[in-house]
């Protein structure tokens, strides 16, 4: 006896639900930060490492490259909704963008690590002040979620290799949704960190 696996659309629904949960988590962290920043004299402002600007750029570009990959992975389609074989080379070329996205994601994480080393070189550590605590926690938790995104993209790549049905397209669509959210979330975090830390 066997069970049919959930329809591919469920992956997308699942990602939307996860986005809701992650949004709430970061709302909790950031509202805690905003509330703490107000009255305490111990809140020490420090200059954000400039590499964060570059990291932000890298992550936003990775969203663009992912779209370039995603737009064509499941197509172009002919009038029957099938992959158009005459465009096969174009499809293959677009897949390259997926690898570029993965590389940019890793580059972003490397950049974040560099930002931490720069800060710690200045003597700003996790426990130095509430402001530095929030900086390290927010960036670390975002990085952890981004690792999940990298895993999802790798999983999508693997299913693209092994499965010629529409499923990988849906998996990639869901992974891409999550990845774009990670980029939006980082931009939000970067803005509030720039404003309050």
């Amino acid at each position: 006896m066997q069970k049919t696996m959930a329809p591919p659309s469920a992956a997308r629904t699942g990602v939307w639900v996860a986005i809701a949960a992650i949004t709430m988590s970061f709302a909790a962290y950031s509202s805690a930060m905003v509330i703490r920043q107000g009255p305490v004299p111990e809140w020490q402002h420090f200059r954000l490492p400039s590499i964060l600007y570059l990291n932000t750029f890298v992550l936003v570009i990775s969203s663009v490259t992912l779209e370039l990959a995603r737009r064509r992975v499941g197509g172009p389609f002919d009038s029957l909704g099938r992959v158009d074989l005459s465009q096969a080379d174009a499809v293959r070329r677009r897949i390259v963008w997926l690898y570029v996205t993965l590389a940019l994601g890793l580059l972003f994480l490397g950049g974040q690590y560099l930002a931490w080393t720069q800060l710690s070189a200045q003597g700003v550590f996790l426990a130095t002040s509430p402001s530095s605590s929030f900086f390290y926690v927010l960036t670390a938790v975002h990085a952890l979620h981004l690792l999940g995104g990298l895993a999802a993209l790798t999983y999508a790549l693997r299913s693209l290799r092994s499965d010629d049905g529409p499923r990988p397209v849906n998996v990639l669509g869901a992974a891409a949704l999550y990845w774009h959210f990670m980029a939006v979330l980082w931009v939000y975090l970067f803005v509030i960190l720039a404003l309050w830390v």
């Binding site: 809140w43 909704g81 509430p130 049905g165």
Partner: protein, 598 residues
């Protein structure tokens, strides 16, 4: 990507992916992907946890009644913490903390929501499994690890945490200096709850995605059984609530192990030692905790709303009154549950204006609660009630929900709460409305769905004895706590031997006798469970003449729930008291023509 580029692919519906029934013991019963096995695992964990939690409550009750006497057997079980069975105030608080934490998280959340929900929800929707079976399996095992981490605190030198199930900072944040168990024990507590959050987030994600995407043909939202509605709404509440508790626990862990100061203010002196922290806020913990904590009450109770609303039409043989209003009220309660957390913090120094702002929605929440209660009573009124054990527990649920709800009126007024907040009145209140009400929902669900889950009937005579004794025991245990509270008997004290509360001892003894009686009554339930599991009469597919999809398959259901059939739904779950070929009800899958042919 050769496979993509070289293949001709239909870009529409599903190339079918399957997974087959596992044959190995480990994959079948331990690391199972099947929602039914996972549901039973959750229920088993809940049973283990409730036995542990209840045993801890007996230790507390015995000590409160006879503070000068050693607790029998305790010296043998826990010689490290209670040598000779003598309980120190610190150990009392440790037991209290573990009782609360185990009951709230590992019983009231796991059993009615994750346990029954996992087993029943996909079947009631006509699905073969949850949307993400692997996440589902992870959800249970992560929760199990959380339980193991929590209980591990009993086996470390200083024992478990003593800061209560609410783990208020800075007591919970400063570490060993604040008392025995506040070292590693409190860290284990925070880690356990953080892990638990991850487990419940995975579970909630599954419940929501399954309800949205895996409903069978014809299963519109308004045709979903009320229990499925309740689990769906609970999953939404849990998703938001645990998403906030998780960051709170992460920050608490960092305060404890990494020297940060999220919750610890400057200049704090604990045990004559100045704490090396500055800039944190203990109130921040309270806000984050109660933003989770109040919705948690509804995570515990809303599944029982659904269970009761599902069982009542079946035992009353008439449609549930106002189904749309019922669902609307559950949604309203879910929404309002996020606007009232401050009513747990009236004594935290909040301004009277803020207190009023939290008090008003608290009072408003009684409106949908009262409407739901009236709908239940209206459904029962004038019905040909079949007094099964499940029906009795449903009625008892309404009783304790009303009793507990009424004392909530008092506590929602900041001025009255100022007097009552630190007393046994609150203990009585939440045990009725959150603890016992949810437990009665669990009992009702167990007696109702046991035949479906295990394929055997439970013994109704034992069930009714269990009901009667439990009902008496519950009121005898928790009702007097309101009177204690009104007389000013403070909670969280380990004993009242020689001060102005000495006069309350006789009532404390009565409560202790009642609690032991109540616990003893649960042995009947345990015996019934075990006996029926192996010796109960074989259950037919639909012993209660119910209408929802789980009764449209064998007891217990096959691996894929419907034996290769994809059920098609034509009716709501509420068609009772109508003439049909089946008698007085129409099943959700009955074709319209057959249902009409009387």
């Amino acid at each position: 990507m050769d496979t993509v580029s070289a293949s001709i692919t239909e870009h529409a519906p599903a190339a079918a992916h399957h997974h087959t029934a596992p044959t190995g013991w480990i994959r079948k019963y331990v690391f199972s992907l099947d929602h039914k096995v996972i549901g039973k695992q959750y229920l088993g964990l809940g049973l283990l946890a409730v036995c542990t939690g209840m045993a801890l409550s007996w230790v507390m009750r015995y000590h409160l009644a006879w503070p000068d006497k050693a607790v029998p057997l305790l010296g043998l079980i826990a010689p490290k913490f209670a040598a000779g069975g003598v309980i120190t105030p610190e150990f009392y608080l440790q037991v209290m903390t573990m009782h609360g934490t185990i009951m709230v998280f590992f019983v009231l959340t796991t059993a009615p929501f994750a346990g029954f929900g996992n087993f029943i929800l996909p079947i009631q929707l006509g699905a073969e499994d949850m949307a993400f079976p692997r996440f589902n399996m992870m959800s249970f095992w992560v929760t199990f690890v959380a339980f193991a981490v929590l209980v591990a605190a009993f086996f470390i030198p200083d024992g478990p945490a003593l800061s209560g199930w609410t783990a208020y900072a800075p007591l919970s944040a400063v570490g060993k200096a604040s008392g025995p168990g506040e070292g590693l024990g409190q860290t284990l507590w925070a880690v356990s709850i953080a892990i638990f959050c991850i487990g419940q987030l995975l579970g909630s994600l599954n419940f929501i995605a399954t309800t949205l995407d895996l409903r069978t043909k014809g299963m519109t939202f308004m045709r979903m059984p009320y229990s499925t509605w309740a689990w769906f709404i609970t999953a939404i509440i849990a998703l938001i609530a645990f998403s906030v508790l998780l960051p709170a626990c992460v920050m608490l862990i960092l305060d404890r192990v990494a020297g940060t100061s999220f919750f610890i203010p400057a200049g704090l002196v604990v045990s004559d030692t100045l704490q090396p922290h500055s800039g944190g806020s203990p109130l921040l913990w309270q806000h984050l905790f109660w933003f989770f904590g109040h919705p948690e009450v509804y995570i515990a109770i809303v599944p029982s709303f659904g269970i009761v609303s599902t069982i009542l039409p079946v035992v009353c043989r008439k449609p549930h009154l106002g189904p749309r209003v019922l669902i609307g009220c559950m949604l309203a309660i879910a929404g309002l549950s996020y606007m009232v957390w401050g009513h747990h913090m009236f004594l935290s120094g909040m301004s009277p204006t803020s207190a009023t702002l939290f008090s008003v929605p608290t009072l408003i929440i009684t409106i949908p609660s009262a409407i739901v209660t009236l709908l239940w009573l209206g459904t029962v009124y004038g019905s040909k009630l079949r007094l099964t054990t499940a029906a009795l527990f449903c009625l008892a649920f309404i009783s304790v929900f009303v009793t507990g709800g009424l004392s909530g009126f008092f506590l929602s007024q900041p001025s009255i709460d100022t007097y009552l907040h630190g007393t046994y009145f609150v203990v009585g209140h939440f045990h009725f409305v959150m603890g016992v009400a949810a437990m009665f929902g669990i009992f009702a669900g167990t007696y109702f769905w046991f035949p479906k889950i295990f394929g055997r009937m439970m013994n109704e005579t034992l069930g009714k004895w269990h009901f009667a004794l439990t009902f008496i025991g519950v009121y005898a245990t928790f009702m007097p706590m309101h009177w204690l509270g009104l007389t000013g008997n403070v909670r969280r004290y380990s004993s009242f031997p020689s001060d102005y509360m000495h006069g309350s001892l006789p009532l404390h003894r009565f409560i202790t006798f009642s609690a032991l009686f109540l616990g003893g009554a649960q042995l009947i339930f345990l015996v019934n469970l075990i006996w029926s599991r192996f010796r109960g009469p074989i259950a037919p597919a639909n012993p209660w003449e119910a209408s929802s999809l789980e009764w449209d398959t064998t007891s217990p259901p096959p691996f894929d729930n419907f034996g290769g059939v994809h059920p098609v739904v034509y009716h709501g779950p509420n068609e009772f008291g109508v003439a049909s070929p089946r008698g007085d009800y129409v099943m959700q899958t009955d074709p319209p023509a057959a249902a009409a042919a009387v």
